[in-house]
């Protein structure tokens, strides 16, 4: 993050222009380009701009939806540019990859200097170097150079600085530094981008995310974990005003018939078994099963309801007074018929055209299995039967929607996240300060203190601190 050319580091690496375009120069230019802040800014802004696309255009919808809203031409362009799934296009992934390359190259290029300044610092600098700093002062105080240096060093240490000193014949040089962690933090944040992306890639290659619609009492095999999951119970809790408070499923994990773990999951409280997470994600009305159907039995001749019965799912009921045996054997929420396979199925999961299949056994002579419709009571009629059956209501069976996910990369993502938060917090609140002081004897019983300092940010605070420091130096005594 710190690109301000530092006078010191420039001294370290003298640059001699190479004749012609050699590989060395080319690779240096390449590093320069990939480590540049300009590239970082471009990527930040370009990713920000392109990320808006996916928030304006609905992602992952069906073709008709786009054509209806934007027209066919626009849709063709959407497909070409990947606008229907922006965040997984090669170019968006490429931008993220480039951001990783950018931050890694920056780390490679700039971190060694930070590391050096943590490990070994340059104490000796020229007087001109101090005088050339943005913050610098010159104070004459009485005393010997050793005693003044001693007092100053103590003052720096008291302020939390790390101090190095060099005592030479004609002068004492002090170097004080503080807050290098601010720079380390910036580089930590730079590395985190790659860590997060690696964790994300690991998750998307070796993890999975599935959605399961499960019914109470059923057992489902989880092939990815090689175990079974039984849904013992599903229920919904309500607030006083009728709003849904929570919905919950009691789940049992079975491994070759043996109960391993039982837990009631709810939204925000998943079950974890062998690295696979089961989340309470949603609920709804099943489209191929109901709990109870209410059926009116009408006498065809008198057109009067002779009886109203509640049929339970796939349980036969005997009505001896009417000489009837009835059962509800099937249900579809949105009736449709596949004529080639001769099969009834539910067109959608909405309860748009619900129908039940009745198995009627009348006086042991008339047997029929008609579909009767909630919305069209007169559609079917059993010829030889004395009765007409009407579906007048039903109690739907709730399914529990479970999100089933495994993400082996998640901990790496959290490590990256910790790095980015710690890193940018350090670099935001701690700033690197360096002070050089030269104490040169001058006059009969005094010394001249030359002090200069730099920081890479927070100039105002540093300016204040520096002003206080010069005032402090003025008060020093032999």
């Amino acid at each position: 993050m710190n690109s301000r050319p530092e006078t010191l580091s420039e001294q370290d690496t003298p640059q001699t222009p190479a004749p012609g375009v050699g590989w060395e120069e080319f690779s240096r230019e390449l590093v320069e380009f990939f480590a540049s802040i300009k590239l970082a800014m471009f990527l930040f802004l370009f990713i920000a701009i392109t990320a808006t696309i996916g928030t304006v255009i609905q992602q992952g919808e069906r073709a008709e939806t786009y054509i209806q809203e934007y027209g066919e031409d626009a849709y063709r362009w959407f497909l070409r540019l990947g606008f229907t799934d922006v965040y997984h296009t090669w170019w968006f992934t490429g931008l993220l990859g480039l951001l990783c390359v950018n931050s890694l190259t920056c780390f490679y290029k700039r971190f060694p200097a930070v590391w050096r300044s943590m490990k070994q610092d340059k104490v000796s600098v020229s007087l001109a170097f101090i005088k050339g700093m943005k913050q610098q002062a010159e104070v004459v105080v009485p005393g010997t150079k050793e005693s003044i240096a001693q007092q100053l060093a103590q003052h720096y240490v008291g302020k939390g600085y790390r101090v190095l000193a060099k005592n030479e014949a004609g002068e004492v040089t002090l170097y004080a530094t503080k807050g290098v962690m601010g720079r380390v933090g910036a580089h930590m944040a730079h590395l985190s981008a790659t860590v997060i992306v690696l964790g994300g890639l690991l998750g998307s290659y070796y993890g999975f995310q599935e959605f399961g619609v499960c019914l109470e009492g059923q057992t489902y095999h989880i092939p990815r974990g090689n175990f079974d999951l039984k849904v013992d119970k599903f229920w919904i809790d309500y607030h006083e005003n009728g709003a849904v408070k929570s919905y919950n499923s009691t789940l049992t994990v079975l491994e070759s018939g043996e109960t391993k773990i039982t837990k009631t999951i709810t939204v925000n409280d998943p079950l974890v078994y062998k690295g696979i997470w089961f989340y309470q994600s949603s609920y709804g009305d099943a489209w191929d099963q109901i709990e109870v159907a209410r059926v009116n039995i009408k006498d065809k001749q008198t057109e009067k309801v002779v009886k109203t019965i509640d049929l339970e799912w796939q349980k036969e009921q005997t009505l001896s007074d009417l000489n009837l045996k009835l059962a509800m054997t099937d249900f579809v929420a949105d009736f449709a018929f596949n004529s080639t396979e001769k099969k009834v199925y539910s067109k959608t999961i909405e309860h748009a055209n619900p129908a039940i299949k009745l198995t009627v056994n009348e006086r042991s002579t008339v047997q029929a299995t008609p579909w009767i419709f909630y919305q069209f009571p007169d559609l079917f009629e059993i010829k030889d039967s004395k009765y007409q059956f009407e579906l007048i209501g039903y109690k739907p069976k709730k399914y529990t929607g479970l999100q089933i996910a495994k993400n082996p990369g998640i901990n790496i993502v959290w490590i990256g996240c910790t790095m980015i938060v710690v890193g940018i917090t350090l670099s935001s609140f701690i700033y690197h300060r360096r002070l050089w002081t030269k104490i040169i004897p001058s006059g009969a019983s005094g010394v001249t203190v030359h002090v200069g300092g730099t920081t890479h940010k927070s100039q105002i605070d540093f300016q204040k601190e520096f002003r206080k420091l010069t005032e402090k130096i003025r008060t020093l005594e032999a």
Partner: protein
């Protein structure tokens, strides 16, 4: 419910009063002393009994602090009401409460800033934004203002920390935006060589610039933390830490925008005017992320 709504209402009027006082403070005649730092000749101005800027400034600060205390009381009352009705006590569980919390954080930030730097002129801009946030909240229809029970997905301890951290970062960006506007005003006045007493109380451009930068440096890591807390919550509630839902995408966009700003500032030339314009632009993006997304785009956070 009526109790907290009354307090929220009172907060609104108190912030209006404090904004008025800060603006009046800018226009008020001030003693010659106050001009000296800005480099204006004192004799142009009336420095007799008419100079009552100092007193106005003191009253403005008092009213602001009082308003903030009422705002605190309103949030606390709402927290207790929530505890009774909806199983959580986070007083930032809907758009209205979130706005009231943001204005609370903005005003707190401003009061701390005034205590530390003793610059009252900033009040007209930053308290202004806090007031607008509170005003926009009170303009919401009544059904958005009540403490309805939380939907199951929100009913989690994560709401305490994820929402508050994110909203606090918004407040920091709001302060930076206000300081940006102030910078642009002051710069224009300087360019035109304005001698209006209005600008005399403004701090110098460098200070405004640096304070704005500081606000962003507080908001930036906070927003990162808030986004990551959101990712952790999402991972816990929905089974995926990132799903590119409009709200989270927009918060990332905002973060990237400020990330670009922070990097830009490292190179020369991104201080002063450019930085001020950028801070205002960034704040507009924050507003969109906070408001626009909820009302214009659909997604997982649609209830927020």
């Amino acid at each position: 419910m009526a109790r907290s709504l009354f307090l929220f209402d009172m907060t609104f009027w108190l912030y209006l009063a404090s904004l008025t006082l800060y603006v009046a403070y800018l226009f008020a005649r001030r003693p010659a002393m106050a001009f000296a730092p800005a480099g204006h000749p004192a004799e142009d101005f009336d420095e007799r009994d008419g100079a009552w800027a100092t007193q106005l400034g003191q009253v403005a600060t008092l009213v602001t602090v009082f308003g903030w205390m009422v705002n605190t009381a309103a949030l606390l009352t709402r927290a207790f009401e929530r505890l009774e009705h909806s199983g959580t006590f986070a007083p930032w569980s809907n758009q209205f409460e979130a706005m009231a919390y943001v204005s609370w954080a903005i005003i707190l930030g401003y009061v701390l800033l005034e205590l530390r730097y003793k610059i009252k002129a900033i009040g007209a801009f930053v308290v202004g934004i806090g007031f607008i946030a509170m005003g926009a909240a009170s303009l919401l229809p009544y059904r958005y203002q009540t403490a309805e029970p939380l939907v199951p997905a929100l009913n989690s301890y994560w709401i305490y920390i994820h929402v508050s951290v994110t909203l606090t970062s918004y407040a920091a960006f709001a302060m930076a935006g206000g300081l940006g506007v102030m910078y642009l005003f002051k710069e224009r006045a300087e360019q035109r060589g304005s001698r209006s007493r209005f600008y005399a109380a403004f701090p110098d451009l460098e200070t405004i610039d640096e304070l704005g930068y500081k606000a962003i440096m507080i908001g930036f890591p906070m927003l990162a933390f808030g986004i990551i807390l959101g990712a952790m919550w999402a991972n816990y509630a929905w089974g995926g830490y990132w799903s590119w839902d409009p709200k989270e995408t927009w918060s990332l966009i905002v973060w990237l925008i400020y990330g670009a700003y922070i990097h830009a500032r490292m190179t020369r030339g991104w201080e002063g005017r450019r930085a001020a314009i950028y801070a205002v632009f960034g704040f507009l993006m924050v507003i969109f992320c906070f408001w626009g997304v909820n009302f214009l785009l659909s997604g997982l956070h649609a209830y927020a």
